[in-house]
Amino acid sequence: MVMLKQSYRYDQTTARLEVEGLPDFSAGHADQAIGILSAWRLKIVGASELEGKREHLEALMAVVIPYVRLRLSGVVRALGELNDPVRLVPDGPQHRLDLTSGQPNIPPLSIQLDDAQLADLVRCLDALRADGRVRLSWPAIEHQPLPRRDLVEKIPLMQRLTAPLLGGATVVVLGVLGLLLPLPEAQAPKPEEAAEVKTETPISDPAQPDQER
């Protein structure tokens, strides 16, 4: 049986992703399918060509796609830890893709991406994941609504503190004003006035019979 190497390319204006591999006949794949990934290459305009193993491509997907998801919600945050194979960090109006090789003699690589390049990169990855000819089970990436605390972070600190500070200041000012208001003096009744008070006969009960009044 002749094993034919398959190669598929996903092109965007500034990014090109190419995957190579073989069909996995034991899994019943057709000739045109890729069931075993042998190599991948990513070319981003203005940067060196990247290549690696399947786990590196999966690491790239696991960082780039969730990062883009965060950007859609306006959240600007780095994804990936220091020394992770792939890390994507906001860098002013751009994004910095940090790649750390597992081999000791290869220095880390940083690639600056503008918004258009980031969009191109994620479109290449989306296209690969959606391609029915590539029969690899990629790690699932579930997109969920973000927790409220993540979204609060994108509001500037001053804006976040304005309402509670104004509320607190209003309470303090009203409290001080309340303390400044003079209390009415309690006046004791004068003795003459007390003597003049007549003791009135109690009003008879209207329900009482006339003879008893």
Binding site: V45, I65, S73, D114, A119, V122, D126, H143, P145, R148
Partner: protein, 185 residues
Amino acid sequence: MTDVTAEAAPDPSIPEAVLGRRALERLDLLLLTVESLDLNGGEAMLWATRQLGFETIFPNRVELWKRRCHNPLRRSTRRGQLSAVETEALIRILCVMADRLYPMLHQLLSSREPEELTRQRWGLVHQRLRDLIEERMNLRRGAIQRFLGSEPEGPLQRQLVLTLALAAGPGGVDRLRASLLDPTP
């Protein structure tokens, strides 16, 4: 005119996404941005509706417009919420439109394009979007006034264009839906 609702025939593949007020505003504003990028955007949206098989939900331009009028910022706004099916249809139409306009979105966002040309492009989009907003939105609302007072390449407009670029195509549907379902901070 009959009011076509999309409550019948629930599709298990369609998530139960019911959008809140802010998300409805954002979704409609994104559709408006599409119209500002494409002079024939209204027709293109109808074409995308047919292409995606949503004719039963939006059989004509009026039904599409009525669903978009759930945006509370509209001049003539409608009460109530969009159903999950209608929401999903609008999200998918938006992603198809963004995919179609992707080369234009790319030009606007690219730092490699000539600066003067980029400025002119942003100015053109800004002016068209302003005109559409003034025509259709309630100008007394604070959010609309803030938008109209913003710069052509300001953060508000850039975020709209970036959202379209990052949500373009079938891969963007899940991302955009999740971001629209974010809670209000």
